[in-house]
């Protein structure tokens, strides 16, 4: 049925308009036109600016208050289009496909010039991007030199939200069954060896091409490093760029707009069609879901790309600096993010923007979960103090639309708040378990007395997550931040000279060991040891309760040449070399079979912590051993354990599993406990053996002849399964 409120009431320079709806915020297609709605508490004047796509000069600038013509008789008439602190207007008969829009704002509050501290930063001469822009142009093609003379660099576009999902839904894979693969969209397929069709390298579309690889490896979740629109040219010196080489904002931890996918990550990006970019990402999610793979986004809500008082005015600071940012009394930006500014996350306006964004990604893009960069900032009040009941974290945990989404916190920030194990969880939040990472690394390299710490990791860190269960723990050895797995076993020290800061940047405490030589070597024994250590590491990860995460490329021994902070490189340091798959086929096979082993055994994927009670068969759900059965040595570097049933009973039928981890340099004999129920031990894994004897495909494990003892090689992991 036709609406009675769609006819225009006012005309401005030939554009037919009427008062709009204050929500939803942003630009929304409504019957007959486009509704524009934007909040500002402190602006008292606002202008809507419309552009044809890519044009430097506006098509028209329509004020939200002033003199207009009456639509019916063209008489001059006063009009105002505002509800509360929301400017809203519907413009009829626009071609949304060819449109870009901005706002200009002014205020009676005193403004602050760039470079100076101050509370308000209104500048009516600037074009401001909509914080709710669902598509953003201006960086449509990765790395392409921007037209710096364009006064509107990041250009809000319209998205038509009618993608046909054909019944697709979030997969809702139980948290305990997840195996996460952390990936950089561009890095995954940008390398010439990736073999994706030309024009697709480094894009969402190319990930779709690589779904068979992911399925073969066995992961069921990819975690994408930031894909919200960011400016890869942000850190670039312009002359560097013109010479064809530059430090870029390659990782993307610097958001321009929270509702828009990075256009340059789309193969269709160069077409400058916001809907098409959105369609491409939605299609990727749909195809991943068809193949049983979830999508988690790494989201950066702790700061924006506007930097400190020296930074550019893109959107937020020109719209309502005092609302969007944490400011001290003098008007300096608090810097809990370490990047110049801090989003004012517990201001109710910003809280709602974060919620609206995440709801949008969950509902419109069917995203399965989110990993929150420097999440501890989200628990701070507007003056930086950690809140007892952080309303944003609580709201996210209770949110109805995010009700089945994974919520994962990086539970620390750059302001010194470290909450691993104590992040306000509200029964929902998981954490990147940084303590797990350190414990595995130190146990792996043979530090003394680490078997106790490793036993906590194996159990899903009940020392940290009592009451929350092992699914609160995202276990990992490596992630984008720091060494790759190969570099972890090849370097004692970081080698970050390429970053241009004389190796000062990046973490120094890597808990790494180069196995006897710093960097690549031809020494066979060292290379064999490194290979074994990589297998040991992934075995430890897959054998531990909680949610394992592996870093893109670790399965084929990717190296970043000892650089542990490659945020700025758009080159082979960050691009995955697909030829490694053949070169390191044995390692790939080991990863694949270790993952398959985890999936085959529910006993490795408990929802709750072990209760130390006897299980149905009279054995404890987990029992601890050492070189002597039933006698663990909590101060050594050898650890063995036996799992005999799933804590929550679901896995009563699963096979008992015995694991011996010998991180001593030399071989050690491990006395074996008798397997329960008159079963006998079979050999699944022995990392001291060369491939293919290092691991057997689940179901093909041969009987282990010696039922009383297992001589486990130095720095090796062995797994037996009782059948």
């Amino acid at each position: 049925m036709e609406r009675i409120d769609v006819h225009p009431t006012h005309v401005y320079q030939g554009f037919r308009i009427r008062s709009g709806k204050p929500y939803p915020f942003g630009a929304t297609l409504v019957p007959g036109g486009i509704n524009f709605s934007i909040f500002s508490r402190h602006a008292d004047y606002c202008v809507l600016v419309l552009f044809n796509r890519g044009a430097k000069e506006p098509l028209v600038e329509i004020p939200f208050r002033g003199m207009f013509q009456k639509a019916d008789n063209k008489e001059p008439v006063w009009g105002e289009f505002r509800t509360g602190n929301v400017f809203n207007m519907t413009v009829l008969e626009l071609d949304h496909e060819d449109l870009e829009y901005a706002f200009r704002m002014d205020s009676n509050y005193q403004s602050t010039p760039r470079g100076k501290p101050g509370i308000h930063r209104f500048d009516p001469s600037r074009y401001l991007m909509d914080p709710y822009a669902r598509a953003i142009g201006g960086r449509d093609e990765w790395g392409k030199l921007a037209d710096w003379a364009d006064p509107y660099q990041h250009r809000a576009r319209i998205v038509f939200d009618d993608f046909d999902w054909e019944g697709d839904r979030q997969l809702e894979i139980p948290m305990e069954d997840l195996i996460i693969y952390e990936m950089h969209v561009r890095g995954f397929t940008r390398h010439p060896s990736s073999g994706v069709p030309s024009g697709q390298a480094g894009t969402f579309s190319a990930i779709r091409e690589k779904i068979p690889y992911l399925k073969d490896l066995g992961v069921n979740c990819i975690e994408l490093m930031p894909i919200f629109e960011f400016d890869e040219l942000e850190h670039s010196a312009r002359d560097e760029l013109s010479e064809g080489w530059a430090r870029m904002n390659y990782w993307g931890y610097s958001t321009v707009g929270f509702f828009a996918p990075k256009a340059a990550y789309a193969a269709t990006g160069p077409m400058k069609d916001g809907t098409m970019v959105a369609d491409e990402l939605k299609n990727l999610v749909k195809e991943l879901h068809k193949n049983g793979i979830e999508v988690i986004l790494d989201v950066v809500f702790n700061h924006t790309a506007e930097g400190n008082e020296q930074g550019p005015t893109i959107s937020y600071r020109g719209i309502d600096n005092a609302t969007y940012y944490m400011l001290n009394e003098e008007g300096y930006y608090y810097n809990f993010s370490g990047t110049g500014n801090t989003l004012n996350c517990n201001n109710p306006i910003v809280r709602d923007m974060v919620l609206d964004a995440l709801r949008y990604w969950a509902a419109e893009y069917h995203i399965d979960g989110f990993r929150f960069d420097l999440a501890s900032i989200l628990g701070r009040d507007p003056w930086g103090a950690p809140l007892a009941n952080p309303p944003l974290l609580e709201a996210l945990a209770y949110d109805p639309i995010l009700g089945k989404c994974k919520l994962i916190a990086e539970a620390w920030d750059a302001g010194g708040l470290y909450q691993v194990g104590s992040f306000p969880a509200y029964g929902r939040w998981a954490e990147w378990n940084g303590k797990c990472r350190d414990a595995i690394r130190r146990f792996l390299k043979g530090d003394s007395a680490m078997s106790g710490a490793m036993s906590m990791v194996v159990q899903g860190s009940p020392d940290l997550y009592a009451g929350r269960g092992p699914t609160a723990s995202i276990n990992f050895v490596t992630c984008h931040d720091g060494f790759t797995l190969n570099d972890l076993v090849s370097y004692n020290e970081k080698h970050n000279e390429a970053n241009g800061e004389e190796n000062r940047d990046g973490a120094n405490d890597n808990n790494s060991w180069n196995c006897g030589w710093e960097g690549p070597t031809c020494e066979l024994a060292i290379n064999e040891l490194r290979r074994r250590q990589m297998k040991n590491a992934v075995a430890m990860l897959m054998l531990s309760q909680g949610v394992p995460m592996i870093l893109m490329g670790d399965e084929i021994a990717r190296s970043k040449l000892g650089n542990n902070n490659t945020y700025c490189h758009d080159n082979e340091l960050n691009w995955l070399d697909w030829d490694l798959q053949e070169k390191n086929a044995d390692l790939y096979r080991f990863f694949k079979n270790t993952i398959a082993f985890r999936i085959a055994h529910p006993v490795l994927r408990n929802r709750d912590h072990f209760q130390q009670q006897d299980s149905r068969n009279g054995f404890a759900s987990i029992s601890w051993h050492g070189t002597q059965a039933w006698r663990p040595d909590w101060n050594g570097n050898a650890l063995a354990f036996m799992l005999s049933s799933r804590a929550n009973g679901k896995a009563d039928g699963d096979n008992p599993i015995y694991v011996a981890m010998n991180m001593h340099w030399d071989a050690l004999p491990f006395e074996l406990p008798s397997p329960p129920d008159n079963l006998s031990w079979h050999l699944s894994t022995n990392t001291s053996m060369p491939a293919p004897q290092d691991i057997y495909e689940p179901g093909t494990e041969p009987p282990f002849e010696n039922s009383s003892s297992f001589l486990v090689g130095g720095r090796s992991v062995a797994i037996l399964v009782a059948k």
């Binding site: 060819d98 789309a266 269709t268 491409e280």
Partner: protein, 110 residues
């Protein structure tokens, strides 16, 4: 955008010439819908189209669905690489029957 329509061997061949986007999409839709009858076999030769926007893709799909609903059949041929890539990237390709050449298109329509 121009739209040439001719009938060859009981097959209707539609030849759009020019971009299909938000502005030209209605022309395309009106033209194709007008020739759809139950049992029609329609070959759309896209070799004269250099660019299709997201609105173009949508109109194409709506036209295709209406045809299917009328028990007509539509096959696309002659898509350039750019259009093929964007249809693949966005998944629209899955809704259509696509062939490379006119001959293959004729064959697909039986």
């Amino acid at each position: 955008m121009e739209l040439n329509i001719k009938t060859v061997d009981q097959l209707t061949v539609v030849e759009p010439l020019g971009d299909i986007d938000g502005k030209t999409a209605p022309t395309f839709q009106d033209g194709v819908l007008a020739i759809i009858e139950p049992g029609s076999r329609i070959l759309i030769d896209m070799s004269g189209v250099s660019f299709m926007s997201s609105a173009g893709l949508r109109v194409m799909l709506l036209t295709h669905r209406k045809a299917t609903g009328s028990e007509a059949r539509i096959v696309l041929v002659g898509l350039n690489e750019n259009i093929l890539n964007s249809m693949t990237a966005t998944g629209f390709i899955n809704f259509f029957t696509v062939r490379n050449t006119l001959d293959e298109g004729r064959e697909a329509l039986g």
